[in-house]
């Protein structure tokens, strides 16, 4: 816990994790959502016995299969990267973080990998109902795997259900249920999987619109759009509710991220929400205020959103970094002092224990326990180290939200046009739906950028900054693996897109896929 590594090693390790996570997230949202959409479609097939629904199911299932394999391939890296590139982190929290990963493997991956085989190979080998069950179980398995990894991620954002054991120099779990049912975890799970459902709905809508634009497969496309738009509207409402909830949780547990997301430097009561804004980039240091060149805001809304009280005080970046006694906010400098005290106390504790000096070890231990909540700050040097990249967080959040609302409009329009039987000649709408497909992926990635960039410098909120979490590797090795990952993932992404486009162009086939 005493070693600080080369800053470029941290940056390259971060870059590698970001690269692999972003690539993984190019595929996962579609897997999460399309698995359910396919399950709905197959249910309609089994209920109605209509061959058209079977054809529809099989077409989307083919696209699901192409996407599924690459999602799995990119996922294995993330699990093992905790060990290869963040080995100090792996020990510091392995007692808590490892459990969800193991449960994920046992509970979710096996369901997924077993039943996905029936889904693909079982059409002529099992009964209709068993096949349908397998399709549902694949969807449930895929979503369960998301549950556990998101529980683990939430724990890093808001560590609960654990205590620090000075004898093993790590955090140990004290309550599994607190970890699993942490409000942050539940909210994050619901918000993230619903973002996957929205991506999949837009995907189905956009591709179906392409068929309509080409005047091909009209009935197939319309039926697909009905499923996608209905599912899309329902899950969009869900994503708005959970998004609103996550703002409150963030304001409470990660106020610095919240302030950065809003570019709010000076805290205020009746804080307005900036709906749209352009930053001027006038600040010379991280603590200087970043002015808006232009902005559109809703008065009082930020206070209401964060604390359900229009009059509530929302602390700004400067308040949190420099402290604000009036509002009882401790400065980062003071936290850094407390963190350093905790780190020294841990060393003293170990030395006293070795010397079998019980009095000294008890004193050190109580000092450590009093200051442990600021342990991670001890590895930082100045207040500005606690501020995440503000611009990236600010813009990403806005783009995510704006796009999210756009997709709701898109789904509603699709249903209005369909119900009035006016869809067929809406070529402008088809084009909008098609370009919305990449936008849906982007919106989902922006969400992760807000979550992950916004919480820097922390790997574990307040307890471990990234700089102490990395593996002790020479930076050259990480650069090489970064480039290798970038090359292989890009090749595979290109292959996937080409295969996908070809399969889409082939269209649904009678009988087969």
């Amino acid at each position: 816990m005493t070693q600080l590594y080369d800053a470029s090693l941290v940056d390259w390790s971060r870059a590698q994790f970001a690269l692999t996570a972003i690539y993984h997230w190019c595929f996962v949202p579609l897997t999460l959502g399309l698995s359910f959409i396919v399950a709905f479609m197959e249910t309609l097939y089994v209920k109605t016995g209509s061959e058209e629904w079977k054809r529809i199911t099989k077409f989307w299932m083919t696209l699901f299969g192409i996407n599924f394999a690459i999602g799995v391939a990119t996922g294995i890296i993330l699990e093992f990267e905790f060990g290869t590139n963040w080995s100090n982190y792996s020990w510091f929290v392995g007692d808590i973080f490892g459990a969800p990963l193991a449960v994920e493997g046992l509970m979710a991956f096996f369901i997924e990998s077993t039943f996905v085989a029936v889904m693909f190979f079982g059409w002529n080998k099992v009964s209709k109902r068993f096949h349908l069950l397998s399709t549902w179980l694949t969807a449930i398995g895929a979503n369960l795997s998301a549950l556990w990894i998101l529980v683990a991620n939430s724990w890093m954002q808001h560590p609960v259900g654990m205590h620090f054991n000075p004898d093993t120099a790590r955090n140990e779990m004290t309550n599994f249920w607190d970890v699993l049912f942490s409000p942050v975890a539940i909210n994050k799970f619901l918000h993230t999987v619903s973002s996957g459902y929205v991506v999949a709905s837009v995907f189905v809508l956009g591709i179906s619109a392409w068929f309509l634009l080409k005047n091909r497969e009209i009935r197939f496309a319309k039926l697909s759009i009905i499923v996608a738009a209905v599912f899309g509207i329902v899950v969009s409402l869900f994503i708005i509710i959970t998004g609103d909830q996550s703002a409150r949780l963030m304001a409470k547990h990660q106020p610095m991220k919240f302030a950065a997301m809003e570019n709010l430097y000076e805290g205020q009561r009746k804080a307005p929400l900036v709906v749209f804004g352009v930053l001027r980039n006038n600040n010379k240091t991280d603590l200087d205020k970043n002015e808006f060149a232009l902005k559109l805001e809703i008065p009082n809304f930020l206070s209401s959103m964060a604390f359900l009280d229009a009059n509530a005080y929302v602390p700004g970046i400067k308040d949190i970094a420099e402290g604000n006694p009036e509002h009882g906010i401790m400065s980062a400098t003071e936290k850094i002092e407390k963190g350093k005290t905790a780190i020294i106390a841990l060393k003293d504790y170990n030395a006293a224990k070795k010397a079998k000096d019980t009095v000294a070890s008890n004193t050190a231990l109580s000092l450590l326990q009093t200051n442990y909540n600021y342990f991670g700050y001890g590895f930082l040097t100045e207040a500005k180290d606690t501020i995440p990249p503000v611009k990236l967080t600010f813009y990403s959040f806005r783009l995510m939200v704006v796009l999210g609302f756009w997709f709701v409009i898109l789904f509603v329009l699709a249903l209005i046009f369909l119900s009035g039987n006016k869809l067929e000649n809406k070529r402008w709408f088809f084009r909008l739906a098609i370009i919305s497909v990449p936008l849906a992926y982007l919106a989902s990635q922006f969400g992760w950028i807000v979550t992950e960039v916004g919480r820097q410098p922390w790997v574990i909120q307040d307890l471990m900054p990234a700089i102490t979490a990395v593996s002790n590797i020479n930076v050259g090795s990480v650069k090489v693996t970064f480039v290798l990952f970038a090359i292989i993932f890009t090749l595979l992404l290109v292959a996937e897109i080409k295969i996908m486009l070809k399969q889409i162009n082939n269209g649904p086939k009678d009988g087969g896929n």
Partner: protein, 378 residues
């Protein structure tokens, strides 16, 4: 129930589970072995596609077992995870790369417009089959030969060689286990093909491959076992936790743990039976060989893991600093976490039941050329 277990009992329980997952993983590497035989057994494109489709519906089990093995190891013995993965960086990264290219190769190889071409994806399958078996075997062998790392009081580890784990491949014992696993995976794949492929030509070629691969497997396996029995091992003083070198340690472990010795012996004999019986009478045993050899593989590998971790032995020893060596007691999770995880482990039997059930359905009939007209072809 598990709350009442001592920490030692829980550590042993989890070592058994990790060992079981590891041994099932080695058995499932038949998928990898099969990937290295595609071009030797399939002279036409159709034959190759038949072969790939018989293992294609199984690759995810191997993959998932590997991921679960990693996850379970992380959850139960996190210090191993942080020390080995962060330390032997290059070995693990190469293994990971080998698995990235595998997953997509199946799904993409025969799809039109696949950008890299079928040959490249088939090469990916070969590379995965070769590297993952040899390197996983060599990595397991380091449980007996030791690695080069230091661990400080904060449990931060440091690898002392810049080869970052690749040095393991240049040790004769590690290499012999790596190659034994490679040839074993090809033996298992051959036996699996007897059971699943309905094509006289492919089966004929496979019968020859069984013998060609069984011989080097036996040579390397005997070499590894011989070296293991005669070498000094990494023993732990249970009272002080001190690690020291003990002559014939692993041989003594076998003698002192007769159950493990019996499992090992039974495993080896079953693998031999799985190879020899189909050679003697193909009609009678051709399709049954995989069960003998598969079950034998699980038993033999399971007992090797137990030899490495039980009876006061360090399962991940450091030759750079003996006292940095990892044992199941100094590298495990806390009592609470192991207890919680143990409850989760109770679902394993149910997982096994549904896997077996689904396998039986999918493999009810053999794969032949007619299956390639079906909807999902790799």
């Amino acid at each position: 129930m598990f709350e009442t277990f001592s920490l030692t009992a829980l550590q042993q329980y989890w070592w058994i589970l990790v060992s079981l997952l590891g041994s099932i993983l080695v058995f499932l590497l038949f998928v990898q072995g099969g990937q290295t035989l595609i071009y030797q057994l399939g002279k036409t494109d159709t034959d190759r596609t038949i072969i790939i489709n018989t293992i294609g519906s199984k690759w995810e089990f191997t993959f998932t077992t590997l991921v679960t093995f990693g996850g379970a190891f992380f959850a139960s013995f996190p210090l191993f995870y942080s020390t080995s993965f962060g330390g032997a960086y290059w070995v693990w990264i190469i293994i990971l790369f080998a698995f990235i290219i595998q997953a997509v190769a199946y799904e993409f190889r025969s799809k039109p417009e696949n950008f890299l071409g079928k040959k490249v994806f088939d090469a990916f399958l070969f590379v995965n089959g070769l590297l993952s078996t040899v390197l996983l075997g060599a990595a397991v062998s380091t449980f007996f030969t030791g690695s080069h790392f230091l661990i400080d009081s904060a449990r931060h580890s440091q690898w002392t060689l810049s080869t970052r784990g690749l040095e393991a491949a240049f040790n004769i014992q590690n290499l012999s286990l790596g190659l034994a696993v490679f040839f074993l995976s090809r033996v298992l794949a051959s036996l699996y093909f007897f059971r699943t492929i309905n094509s006289v030509e492919i089966v004929e070629k496979t019968r020859r491959q069984l013998i060609y691969n069984a011989i080097p497997f036996l040579v390397f396996f005997l070499l590894f076992t011989g070296l293991l029995m005669f070498k000094d091992g990494f023993a732990v003083n249970p009272a002080t936790g001190e690690v020291f070198m003990a002559p014939y340690k692993y041989f003594h472990n076998l003698i002192e743990m007769p159950v493990v010795a019996l499992l090992f012996l039974a495993g080896v004999l079953l693998v031999l039976a799985g190879i020899i019986l189909p050679v003697l009478s193909f009609v009678k045993y051709g399709e049954k060989g995989i069960w003998f050899a598969g079950f034998g593989t699980v038993l033999a590998v399971f007992s090797l893991f137990l030899l490495a971790g039980f009876n006061n032995t360090s399962f991940y020893p450091s030759v750079a600093d003996l006292q940095s060596s990892l044992t199941i007691s100094n590298s495990s999770s806390s009592h609470y976490t192991l207890t919680a995880m143990s409850y989760v482990s109770l679902i394993i039997p149910f997982v096994l039941i549904y896997i077996v059930y689904v396998w039986r359905i999918i493999n009810r009939k053999k794969v032949d050329i007619r299956d390639l007209d079906e909807e999902h072809v790799y």
